[in-house]
C-alpha cells in the first residue's frame, strides 16, 4: 500500500516538475518570436509558420518516413555501439591488460571529429543508411566503453566478499550485485550515447543524401527554405525531448531511487543534449 502511494506521489512530482520545463520552453519560443520580429522571415521564420510547415510536411507524407529512417539509422547504430562498447568496456574493467590495450584506442576514436568519420563512411559505404549507422557506432561506442569499464572496475571488493560468504549463485551475483552497480555508471553513458546518435545520424544523412531528416535539411538548404529547415530542426528536437522525458528520465529515476539524495541537476539541458 505504502509502495503504491510512494510511486503515485513520485509520478505526480515528476509531472508537476513538467511545468518548469514547459515554462522555460515557452520563454524560448517568446525569444524566437522576438527574433523573428526583429530580423524577418528569411532569417528567422516565426514559430507559428514553422509549426505550420511541420504540420504540412506531416500531412503530405514526408515527415513520418524521414523520422522512421533517421530513428532506424540512429537506433541501429546505438544498439551496435552499446553491445560492442559494453562488452569491450566490461573486459577492460575486469582486466588491467585489456584496459591498457583498449583505452588508447577508445581515446583515439573519441578524438577523431564526427564529421571526419562521416566523410570516411561515405567513401566506404556510399550514400546508404549504412554510412549513418556506421558513423553512430564509431562515435558513440567509446562513450559506452568508458562507462562500462568504470562500472566493472569500481565494484566494491567488500561486496564481492560478502556475496561469496553467502554463497550466492552465479546468476544472482550478476543480477543482484554486478549489474545494478554497473548500471549506475553505464546508464549515463548510454543516455549520452543515445542522444548523440540522433545528432550524428542527421549529420551523416545530410551529407549522404540517402533520406531521413538530414536529407530533408539538405533539400531545404538547397532551396533556401528557412521555414522548412527550421521545421526539420523542430522535428529532431521534438524526437530528442520525447526520448529524454518519456524514456530516459523515468528510467533514470527508477534506477537511482537508492541514491536519490545524491542526484540533482543532471537534466537534459546540462548534459548538452540539445
Amino acid at each position: 500500500m505504502n509502495w503504491v502511494r510512494d510511486r503515485a506521489s513520485r509520478a505526480l512530482d515528476y509531472l508537476w516538475g513538467g511545468w518548469g520545463a514547459a515554462a522555460s520552453l515557452l520563454l524560448l519560443t517568446a525569444l524566437w518570436e522576438a527574433g523573428h520580429a526583429a530580423y524577418g522571415t528569411l532569417v528567422l521564420p516565426s514559430p507559428r509558420d514553422t509549426v505550420a510547415a511541420l504540420v504540412r510536411m506531416g500531412g503530405d507524407g514526408r515527415l513520418l518516413p524521414a523520422v522512421v529512417e533517421t530513428t532506424g539509422n540512429a537506433l541501429g547504430g546505438f544498439v551496435a555501439a552499446s553491445l560492442v562498447g559494453g562488452v569491450l568496456g566490461a573486459m577492460a574493467g575486469a582486466s588491467d591488460m585489456m584496459r591498457r590495450l583498449l583505452q588508447p584506442i577508445a581515446t583515439l576514436m573519441l578524438g577523431i571529429p564526427a564529421i571526419a568519420w562521416v566523410v570516411l563512411a561515405l567513401l566506404w559505404f556510399g550514400g546508404s543508411g549504412l554510412a549513418a549507422s556506421f558513423t553512430v557506432v564509431v562515435t558513440t561506442a567509446p562513450i559506452v566503453f568508458s562507462g562500462a569499464a568504470q562500472g566493472v572496475r569500481t565494484l566494491d571488493g567488500d561486496l564481492r566478499r560478502m556475496a561469496r560468504a553467502f554463497r550466492v549463485p552465479g546468476p544472482m551475483l550478476v543480477w543482484d550485485v554486478y549489474l545494478p552497480h554497473m548500471l549506475s555508471y553505464l546508464f549515463p553513458a548510454l543516455a549520452s550515447a543515445l542522444a548523440l546518435s540522433w545528432k550524428i545520424a542527421v549529420m551523416a544523412e545530410l551529407l549522404s543524401g540517402a533520406g531521413g531528416i538530414g536529407d530533408g535539411l539538405a533539400t531545404a538548404r538547397v532551396q533556401l527554405d528557412t521555414v522548412k529547415a527550421l521545421a526539420w530542426v523542430l522535428a529532431v528536437v521534438g524526437l530528442l525531448l520525447a526520448l529524454e522525458y518519456l524514456l530516459l528520465e523515468p528510467v533514470r529515476r527508477h534506477l537511482q531511487t537508492w541514491r536519490r539524495e545524491a542526484q540533482g541537476g543532471d537534466s537534459a539541458m546540462t548534459r548538452g543534449l540539445l
Binding site: N2, W3, D6, D156, D158, L159, R161, M162, R164, A165, F166, R167, V168, P169, M172, D176, V177, P180, H181, S184, T257, W258, R259, E261, A262
Partner: protein
C-alpha cells in the same frame, strides 16, 4: 543445554598459512564447544581475519585441518556490506534469496528478523544511505540470522560504532547467540570487548600469528558488569604472554585499546 563435558564443535589442528613467502599463521591449534563464544584477539593485521575466513570456508589453509559439523556458517563484517540499491528488507533477505527461498516468504522472514534486531517497521523500505551506522549493522546482523546459521563468524563487527551503540550491539548479539544456541567466533583487537562477550579468549601473537595464550571466562554474560570486565582485563594482562602479544599493537599502531 549441552552434556557436561561439551564436545568440541570446532576443532583446529596445526593450522599454518602463508601468502607467498610471508607466513601469516603458524601452527595454530584450538577447539571450541557448541554454544560457546570464542574470541580471537591479537594485534591488527596478525591474521585473525584470515583464520576466520578459513573457518567459514572462504579460503584454504596451506597446512593443518579445520574440522566442524556446522552446516550454516555466516559472517558479519566490520563494514555492514549492504547492497546500496536494495532496501533494508531486501538486504536482510539477500542470503535467503541465495538459498532459493521464494520472494514472499523471504520478505516475511526478513521483516520479522528486523524486528528481532530492534529495527522499526518504518525502516523496512529504507535504503542503506537513509540508515545510521548502527542501523546498518543491525540490518547486516539480521541478514546473517536470516539464513538460520549455526556458526556465527564476527569479524570486528562493532569496531566502527561509537561506544554507546557498541555496548547495545554487543548485548544484542550475545543475547541472540544464547537464545538460539549458536556457536560464535569473534575477531577483535579490543580486550575489554573480548572479556565482555567471550567464553574463551584465544590470544594470537604478531606475524606470523601463533596462539600464545588461552583464557576461559566462566562468569555468565548477564553478570559481567563494568567492574568485572575491568578486573578481568587486568587479570588477563598479568599473563606475560598475553601482555606481550597485545603490546605489539601499542608499539606498532599507537594503541588500539
Amino acid at each position: 543445554m549441552n552434556a557436561m563435558p561439551p564436545a568440541p564443535a570446532l576443532s583446529i589442528q596445526g593450522l599454518s598459512h602463508s601468502f607467498g613467502p610471508q607466513g601469516v599463521l603458524d601452527d595454530v591449534t584450538f577447539s571450541l564447544p557448541v554454544g560457546r563464544v570464542g574470541c580471537l584477539i591479537g594485534p591488527s593485521g596478525c591474521g585473525k581475519s584470515t583464520l576466520l575466513s578459513m573457518i567459514g570456508g572462504l579460503s584454504e589453509p596451506t597446512h593443518g585441518t579445520i574440522a566442524h559439523a556446522f552446516r550454516h556458517p555466516v559472517f558479519v563484517f566490520q563494514d555492514p556490506c549492504l547492497l546500496p540499491w536494495r532496501d533494508a528488507r531486501d538486504n536482510v533477505a539477500f542470503g535467503l534469496k541465495a538459498q532459493g527461498v521464494g520472494r514472499n516468504e523471504r520478505r516475511c522472514r526478513a521483516a520479522r528478523l528486523m524486528e528481532v534486531v530492534g529495527l522499526a517497521p518504518d525502516d523496512v523500505g529504507k535504503y542503506p544511505h537513509e540508515l545510521s551506522g548502527g542501523m546498518r549493522q543491525r540490518v547486516a546482523l539480521a541478514r546473517a540470522l536470516a539464513i538460520e546459521p549455526d556458526l556465527l563468524l564476527l569479524d570486528e563487527p562493532f569496531s566502527a560504532l561509537d561506544l554507546g551503540l557498541r555496548r547495545q550491539m554487543q548485548a544484542l548479539v550475545r543475547r541472540l547467540i544464547d537464545q538460539r544456541n549458536l556457536t560464535a567466533v569473534l575477531v577483535t583487537h579490543d580486550l575489554a570487548e573480548a572479556v565482555r562477550l567471550a567464553d574463551c579468549v584465544f590470544v594470537l601473537s604478531g606475524k606470523p600469528a601463533r596462539l600464545t595464550a588461552r583464557h576461559d571466562i566462566a562468569r555468565p554474560f548477564a553478570e559481567r558488569d563494568d567492574g568485572f570486565v575491568h578486573s578481568e582485563v587486568n587479570r588477563l594482562l598479568s599473563d606475560p604472554a598475553t601482555a606481550r602479544a597485545l603490546a605489539v599493537e601499542d608499539m606498532g599502531h599507537g594503541g588500539g585499546q
